[in-house]
Amino acid sequence: MYPPRLRYVAPKSLDEAFAVMAEYGDDAKVLAGGQSLVPMLKLRFASPAVLVDINGLSDLAYHRAESDGSLRIGALCRHVDLERSALLPGRYPTMAAAAPQVADPIVRNRGTVVGSLCHADPQGDWASVLLALNGQVVVAGKDGRRTISVADFVVGPFQNSLAAGEIAVEASVPAAKGTPYGSYLKLERRVGDFATVGVAVAIETSGLQISRAGIALTGVGPNTIQAIEAEQALIGQALEPDVIARAAGLAAGAARPRSDHRGSAEYKRHVVETFVRRALSSYRLAVPA
């Protein structure tokens, strides 16, 4: 299969990229890892007039923890960079859990976190993870930068809130205020398949009490779903079996799965409940001295 005819530009700077983006408007598409975009081109689901290949902008190939504890992920940070990162385990447990589960090892060598957020596939893993962590996306254009919450950035299936001419340059995760615990549990038929069900859980505790909770669901609705009621049911609570069961039930209730070749709606809803319960039950909270 061949992509449609298109032009290709490999800018040497973001300013050069913005200039091309401004010239072509909605007809331009940014090429980063290309692991979703190139298949979309081949299937003719996307047919931009021009590809703006940002792979030469090596300044965007970073992920780092800031002094305030937030995590910043540049547009050229590939899944494999996070999979191998020594920065994530312990400090950013939900991110660390998700990174090795994205797609397959070869795709992880090319695909990027920010690109995955832009692609906004309801079966993509990072949108759930970043939603559970209250993440943000920094977008930039020739007129400046703005920061958008992931909740407002991933607006629909395959839809993001980038304006014409803008490029998503960074994703970020705010610093944990309490002690962070987190999981990404994913059911897939085989490595590389899209998630049948994915569940991202990120909680923070103060003593034995949950001070912040994020739960988001992959692959069980037309969008990535934030299980807000389940999150609220955890705030101020201890991780007791009845609290966990209630949150798991509420998360399953938030799912909007459809029956398909990966499983029935009932089955997927059941897996959501199981995953939320399993994640929350796995945390061994450090008892304050």
Partner: protein, 177 residues
């Protein structure tokens, strides 16, 4: 419509040899290799980024060549199966696949071997688990994974001069939990 101005002149080093070629932006890397340079050892399997048959090394890193544009290889080094070894001097990975019978129909083999090459270069003493995990993006429709895993462990031992751990019946399967 594409006109001549949209052709890009690129220089790509394939198996150590530089090639200057004109490419249309939409040309996929796999098509440049197979049709442009007649290196048909790189196979097209699924053409949908699932199977890994088209895997090549891009500056030493395994990538799916059906999911990259040829123009993105400008200034980069590509290794295909043709560059892995020669008939007179097989790469340890090729030798391992021969000795451990790591192929049946052979269609997935070039991609498997290139992923394996990068794997054992980055991890000189992989466990069976490491190999299974590392090869999980390469599918074998013959389902000959047992011998492929054995072949890669053999190659790691050969390349790095230590002996693969086997139980005499080949390696033991331990499922990932």
């Amino acid at each position: 419509m594409t006109d001549a101005a949209d052709e890009h002149r690129i220089t790509v080093t394939v198996n150590g040899e530089p090639h200057a070629v004109e490419v249309e932006p939409r040309l996929l890397l796999v098509h440049l290799l197979r049709e442009g340079l007649r290196l048909t050892g790189t196979h097209i399997g699924c053409d949908t980024t699932n199977c890994g048959a088209c895997t090549v090394l891009y500056d030493g890193t395994p990538v799916k060549s059906c999911t990259m544009l040829a123009v993105q290889a400008d200034g980069h080094e590509i290794t295909t199966v043709e560059g892995l070894g020669s008939l007179s001097e097989l790469d340890p990975v090729q030798e391992g696949f021969t000795i451990e019978h790591g192929l049946q129909c052979g269609f997935c083999t070039p991609g498997m071997m290139l992923t394996a090459k990068a794997l054992i270069t980055n991890n000189p003493n992989p466990s069976e688990e490491d190999v299974r995990w590392g090869l999980s993006g390469n599918l074998c429709r013959c389902t000959g994974y047992q011998n492929i895993v054995k072949a890669v462990l053999w190659a790691a031992a050969k390349q790095h001069g230590h002996v693969a751990e086997t139980n005499g019946q080949g390696t033991t399967v331990s499922g990932r939990t």
